[in-house]
């Protein structure tokens, strides 16, 4: 398993080196790795709780993805900016406060300018605070890396999380309600022939099973993920 290159002792390494291009190979890796090799959900098994809760339909999953991207990118940047000032003993509290205020900001802005979307998400927005991935990336990455890298890491991990969310939601909505994004895709003719939506797909256990199947497929495809023992 390739862990993210987090250096726990920052600051000292913050010496002016030759400038790295904005999208160097390493930086692209920060964006790309979480999508597959180091996916927060399927590889690190973080953020499972919300993956079960909001994958019944595609629409909330998509909006949740966008919100998590915004929150993670912003809080990674803020914590990275403050990383040399945050007292070590209360760093978790500081991270929590940063994430919580970002979440409240997103919620307030959505309520004023995108009321329908904010109604769609209702409690889930608040649940971003409890998302293990957000705190995990702050602690493991943003505290020890520069602003731009932390930004990429935040966007990458949120996208990796969202990718799985959307994938699971795709199967659950399709098989559970015969719809995609709220639109019916399974033709009426099929229902007349006796096809039934699988109500079990709407319940949480099937989210876990779907996720398990996705992990299976991913590991069969991506040899790097197979543990040797």
């Amino acid at each position: 398993m390739s862990q993210p290159k987090a250096t726990k002792k920052p600051a000292i390494f913050f010496v002016a080196k030759e400038r790295e291009p904005l999208f160097s190979k390493k930086n692209r890796g920060l964006l790309k790795d979480p999508l597959d090799d180091n996916n927060p959900i399927t590889v690190q098994v973080l953020g499972i709780c919300s993956a079960l809760a909001i994958t019944v339909q595609l629409k909330p999953a998509v909006v949740m993805t966008l919100s998590v991207i915004a929150v993670m990118a912003a809080s990674n940047v803020i914590v990275s900016l403050l990383r040399n000032a945050i007292p070590n003993r209360i760093r978790i509290i500081v991270q929590l406060v940063v994430v919580a205020s970002m979440v409240i900001l997103v919620d307030q802005v959505l309520r004023a300018y995108a009321y329908d979307v904010s109604k769609q998400l209702s409690i889930f927005i608040g649940l971003i605070i409890t998302n293990c991935i957000v705190m995990g990336r702050l602690e493991a990455f943003a505290l020890g890396n520069g602003v731009w890298k932390s930004f990429l890491d935040g966007v990458g991990n949120a996208a990796g999380y969202g990718f799985m969310l959307i994938l699971v939601a795709f199967f659950r909505e399709l098989l559970g309600s015969g719809k995609l994004y709220g639109y019916q895709v399974i033709p009426d003719a099929l229902y007349e022939m006796g096809y039934e939506n699988n109500g079990l797909m709407l319940l949480s256990p099937m989210a876990l099973i779907t996720l398990g199947l996705i992990i299976w497929v991913q590991r069969a495809r991506n040899r790097k993920l197979i543990e040797k023992n």
Binding site: R89, Y113, G176, G199, L202
Partner: protein
């Protein structure tokens, strides 16, 4: 500076709390008007949709003023409290915490093409949090012509389905009084053996599987709220039609 000293830690925490609090307070108060406006228009939109008038949020205000002819705040005995504006002064979330005798019960009377409808706001609890809605009664003050439900935090795909049109449509045509004139409301039933809700005299609609507690909340909310309107609804019994 020593980042591990107590003084620095306390100082940092205090500064952080101040900054965060002022940023959030500033955002909340500067967006408050916009948010309140959204909520107000949505309420109008919901009330209108119970009597079959669909509109977007921006068009709601004009149509609301056009069709809703009376906005009454009823007292417990069915008389009208003239001091209170039903739409803007009565917040059911707060009213529900009071004694029934202290509450004001909002009622909207709509006139659409000579037909008169009575719209009653509902509020109760679902599985996770509050559920609410509006129910519109026909001229006979008995038959439901439309219902709208909404919720704060019911499970998406299960309890949250009460906001779906197909669920709300099931209430249309059902009656709230039985043949003897007693209030029975509408039960969200798992055993009514009438999945398409063809039987409109059973005071039952088909429940949503996986949403038992939300459904029970809807049934309870309807009876609980409607009972307070009995003095008003029964005020002119001659007009009531019990022969369902």
């Amino acid at each position: 500076m020593n980042r591990d000293s107590n003084g620095y830690t306390f100082g940092f925490a205090a500064a952080m709390v101040l900054v965060v609090a002022s940023v959030l307070a500033f955002t909340a108060s500067s967006l408050k008007d916009l948010q309140g406006e959204n909520v107000r228009k949505e309420k109008m939109q919901n009330i209108l949709s119970t009597i079959g008038i669909e509109t977007d949020r921006d068009g709601a205000e004009v149509l609301f003023n056009q069709y809703i002819t009376e906005q009454l705040a009823l007292k417990n005995d069915g008389s009208v409290d003239e001091q209170v504006n039903a739409f803007s002064d009565v917040k059911l979330a707060f009213e529900l915490k009071k004694e029934a005798s202290q509450q004001r019960f909002p009622l909207y009377v709509a006139n659409v093409e000579a037909a008169q409808y009575y719209i009653i706001p509902l509020r109760g609890s679902g599985l996770w949090d509050a559920i609410w809605g509006y129910i519109a009664l026909d001229q006979d003050k008995n038959t439901i012509v439309g219902a709208v439900f909404d919720h704060k935090g019911e499970t998406a795909g299960l309890g949250a389905e009460i906001t779906q049109q197909w669920f709300m449509n099931r209430f249309v045509g059902e009656k709230i009084f039985d043949t003897t004139g007693a209030l029975v409301g509408i039960a969200v039933s798992k055993t009514n053996n009438d999945p398409n809700d063809i039987d409109k005299d059973d005071h039952e609609v088909d429940a949503i599987s996986g949403a038992t507690i939300t459904g029970d909340g809807v049934s309870a909310m309807i009876v609980e709220r409607l009972q307070h309107y009995l003095p008003y609804l029964k005020a002119e019994p001659a007009k009531l039609a019990y022969n369902n």
